[in-house]
């Protein structure tokens, strides 16, 4: 066998130029994910909104004028320099409650979203990767059951019968009742990815199943995971507020949901205390809108075609 690279001919040219030929070209690395997300105007608005909420929550003691549980103010005071948004029937400062309340909402959003996404990932990915086997049958069955059980009554029952009523209970309950849809989506996605050549190639490298699923395949669907997380977090924030409004929240802490519950219980609307009712609802709605906006940006990650229009 003779292989002739014809060095003599190549030597004729400028050597520096010749060695350039096989080098790695100056390919632009694709945009980093944050650049893509930031390129969408909706996502930018969403990120600014959520960032503002996070700052307020983190620095609540500095931002808030008073202790939210301090009931030493004149009850039912109107908005003033002392009480920005007035006070409640039992003399607490609404503005301070609102500011401290963002902590609970964001905490529940973050951890409820994380936990739900994690459950969805593990169950969805494994069942999708094992599609057609008994493992998939069992996991799919569990997913389907979780999908068809009416969520709200289940949450209410779980919370109503539990001994403690802390934030973590709420987080846990929301997570285990809301993962199923996400698991379905992950399962569908991994089924399209698991027959790619690079998965077979990983098997030939001697990788184990867990490693293939979570180290090889999962990075290729990270945008979907991110979108699912933002979605679940939004849902968790809404669910927490909903539970609190129904009186199933943590009575020891202040959240927007408990504020609404109190307002409702004290007949705020009939008394014309609009600020007390509307402001917690409004901040909640703005936060959830902001998170939905972020998801527009995350969408661009998974579907590059959208980027041209963004």
């Amino acid at each position: 066998m003779t292989t002739t690279p014809l060095n003599d001919v190549m030597a004729e040219g400028d050597p520096a130029q010749t060695s350039n030929v096989e080098q790695v070209p100056d390919v632009e690395r694709p945009d980093r994910w944050w650049q893509v997300v930031w390129s969408s105007r909706k996502a930018r608005i969403g990120i600014v909104i959520v960032a503002a909420y996070v700052l307020v929550a983190v620095f609540a003691p500095l931002v808030a004028p008073h202790d939210p549980l301090d009931s030493s103010f004149t009850p039912l005071a109107g908005a003033s320099g002392e009480n920005w948004l007035g006070t409640t029937t039992d003399g607490r400062d609404i503005a301070s409650q609102l500011i401290y309340g963002s902590r609970i909402s964001l905490l529940v959003g973050l951890f409820g979203g994380l936990l739900a996404t994690m459950i969805a990932l593990v169950i969805g990915m494994i069942s999708g990767y094992a599609e057609g086997t008994i493992v998939d049958d069992i996991l799919s069955f569990i997913t389907n059951v979780a999908l068809v059980i009416p969520t709200l009554p289940l949450i209410i029952t779980l919370v109503a019968y539990s001994e403690v009523r802390g934030v973590w209970l709420i987080v846990g309950v929301i997570a285990i009742t809301s993962w199923a849809g996400g698991a379905r989506a992950k399962r569908a996605q991994i089924i399209t990815l698991r027959n790619r050549d690079f998965v077979t190639a990983a098997k030939f490298s001697g990788e184990g199943t867990m490693r293939i699923v979570f180290r090889e395949i999962m990075p290729n669907m990270s945008s979907l995971v991110a979108a699912a997380f933002v979605g679940s977090a939004t849902g968790a924030i809404g669910a927490e507020a909903g539970l609190a409004v129904l009186g199933l929240g943590d009575s020891q802490s202040v959240s927007w949901g408990t504020m609404l519950y109190q307002a409702n219980a004290q007949g705020a609307i009939t008394q014309g205390l609009w600020l007390w009712v509307f402001v917690p609802g409004l901040v909640l709605a703005i936060l959830m809108t902001g998170m939905a906006f972020i998801n527009f940006g995350v969408d661009l990650l998974s579907n590059p075609h959208l980027r041209e229009d963004a």
Partner: protein
């Protein structure tokens, strides 16, 4: 007057997030009525963009940024969509590259023809059916498929249906954009024969886009060679073959050889096309060109009349001007780049290595239950052959011949229904069947695979270093510095040097050839006894195939590994393989030394395969 007249056409892509690039730059050519024109170039040269622009089908962010397209006396460059609609299909039609998907999957074939015919002609009712049957006759498809759904047709038939559909209204011009890519040689051959015959009968003009210079030379009257968005050479097919002007054309010609010849030499064009979004000084081909002179890096060569056509190369022009006696020397016919040579004598030294795997009377039957009936499909019937150390065995056959099933059994994914596959490994003889879990994993430290498509076999989310490190960590337990050293060594083995430049790259940053090198390096990582290479070059550009063949060939020599090379391409089998096994409908119809089989085939099917190789020489 020409049928199609393209003047100074430029197409510009202006994506929001990236630099704009001119995919087609200042292209001028014309096509006469009834002429068959070929357009060749490697991927990324802008041929498909040019084709799309001619059909006025460009989509955002691409647009025609300059020049004009005149079709049959009408300037269609700025024609509105409504006016184009009359023209499209009646006068200009096309068969797309991805025509596997060009038929609507939920509509019967007949309805799709009826749509087109009724929209543009006065035929109605059973006259349309008559016309469809006539069209089916033209492309040699049985009438019973008129009422079939697209998924009921094979790939080749679908492509014929697309061709018939393109011909439905007797257009004056058809654009064929790689119409046979993805089909195997025999089917490709018969479809192109068909096109050529119909073109001769009906006298429509064709622009045939392809990267396969063999077929283009075989079919075309005149050939346009495209590189980096420009036409670099235009000559009649015969003249291009006899006296190519542009070095790039020589490179493309050199990548093609006759497998029957005593000594086959195929060249490759190292490197890859320039990034068109960056400014290019001088000739865009200069960095890859073996004939370049100092002035090439400064002067952007204009396309000038030369030889029997036109070319954009200052060296070729100077050679012509000086008549071969000046400082630029004689015009050369061949590409003076790296080449890969296989002589007849090397081929006769085959079949001497130790047997490393033997396939003994293996059959594989797939059964599928359909209601009460059980359907049996025999994928492989009574196949016997051996793989030897340090040699390459080519498994040749059409798609559906059972090649992949055999590969799956050899890699331990499937088990044979009857017969046995024995692996004569370092740990003694071992029957390959029914491997699961641990034992399958262990077997894979001896048998590795190189995949067909290097674009999908490298995890896009991982760096090259990680990809190569995994098999080493898993099978050899390497960690830390030893692991990093070995990864670099592997990269050097497959000539990805300097290795530091590659370890932290992602697959998508590399060219097709470089990616395939990474895949080969990964297969080598565990020092296997056998590598199964499943069409490792068929998705690469013709101009760089030889470099992968050369690499595989060197590895066989130096690593003493046995390669099972699965292909439908006899030229590459000749270049690489010592032994050829021809597979037809799951049966081994012929096997023997490569050159003997190719030169003197004893089986009718082998002859058919060999005849299907385009032969412009």
């Amino acid at each position: 007057m020409s049928l199609l007249d393209v003047k100074n056409l430029s197409v510009r892509y202006e994506p929001k997030a990236h630099r704009p690039l001119d995919a087609v730059q200042d292209v001028s050519f014309s096509i006469e009525p009834g002429e068959f024109v070929g357009l060749i170039g490697e991927s990324g040269s802008g041929k498909t963009t040019l084709g799309t622009a001619l059909l006025r089908l460009l989509q955002r962010p691409g647009r025609i940024s300059g020049g004009s397209i005149t079709f049959d006396g009408t300037d269609i460059t700025d024609l509105s969509e409504d006016e184009l609609r009359d023209l499209r299909w009646r006068d200009i039609s096309t068969v797309f590259q991805s025509s596997m998907n060009a038929l609507n999957p939920v509509t019967r074939v007949e309805a799709q023809f009826r749509d087109v015919i009724e929209q543009h002609s006065n035929l109605r009712g059973h006259k349309v059916t008559e016309r469809i049957k006539q069209l089916f006759d033209m492309v040699i498809i049985d009438h019973k498929f008129v009422s079939a759904f697209p998924h009921e047709l094979s790939g080749g038939m679908r492509q014929r249906v697309n061709l018939a559909l393109a011909l439905a209204l007797e257009p004056k011009f058809i654009l064929l954009d790689e119409p046979t890519t993805g089909l195997d040689v025999v089917v490709q051959h018969s479809i192109l024969e068909n096109v050529r015959r119909l073109q001769a009968e009906q006298g429509f003009a064709v622009l045939f886009i392809s990267h396969d210079i063999g077929t283009v030379l075989d079919l075309s009257d005149r050939i346009l060679v495209m590189y980096a968005g420009r036409i670099v050479e235009e000559q009649p097919a015969g003249a291009l073959l006899a006296q190519p002007l542009h070095p790039y054309s020589k490179g493309l010609l050199g990548s093609y050889g006759d497998p029957r010849a005593e000594t086959v030499r195929i060249t490759y064009v190292p490197g890859r096309p320039p990034d068109l979004s960056l400014p290019i000084v001088g000739c865009s081909f200069a960095p890859r060109c073996p004939e370049r002179v100092a002035r090439c890096a400064e002067v952007d060569p204009p396309i000038v009349p030369l030889g029997a056509g036109r070319a954009a190369c200052i060296v070729a022009e100077a050679q012509q001007r000086e008549g071969g006696s000046g400082e630029h020397g004689e015009p050369r016919r061949t590409f003076e780049g790296p080449q890969f040579v296989k002589t007849a004598e090397e081929s006769t030294q085959a079949l001497r290595g130790d047997v490393v795997l033997s396939v003994e009377n293996v059959s594989k039957v797939f059964t599928r239950r359909r209601g009460l009936a059980v359907q049996r499909t025999e994928a492989v019937t009574d196949a016997s052959f051996v793989l030897r150390k340090g040699e390459v065995t080519a498994l040749v056959g059409q798609s559906g011949s059972g090649k992949s099933t055999l590969a799956r059994m050899i890699t331990g994914v499937d088990s044979p229904t009857s017969g046995r596959i024995v692996f004569h490994g370092p740990k003694g003889d071992q029957e390959v069947s029914g491997f699961r879990g641990r034992s399958l994993r262990d077997y894979r430290s001896d048998v590795q695979m190189v995949f067909q498509d290097p674009y999908s076999s490298i995890n896009p989310a991982k760096r090259i270093g990680y990809i190569l490190a995994r098999p080493l960590a898993n099978y050899h337990g390497l960690r830390g510095d030893a692991l990093r050293e070995r990864v670099k060594e592997l990269l050097e083995t497959v000539a990805l040097t300097p290795s530091e430049r590659f370890v932290n790259r992602y697959g998508y940053e590399l060219s097709g050839g470089q990616r395939q090198r990474v895949v080969i390096a990964k297969a080598l990582a565990v020092e296997p006894e056998i590598i199964v290479a499943d069409e490792p070059i068929s998705s690469l550009d013709v101009s760089i195939r030889a470099e992968i063949l050369e690499l595989l060939n060197d590895l066989v020599q130096s690593k003493d590994v046995g390669i099972l090379y699965i292909t439908h391409d006899l030229l590459s089998a000749r270049m690489l393989a010592d032994e050829v096994i021809v597979l037809n409908n799951g049966k081994v119809v012929e096997q023997g030394q490569t050159l003997k089989v190719i030169r003197d085939p004893s089986d009718a099917y082998t002859r058919k395969l060999i005849d299907a190789i385009p032969n412009p020489f």
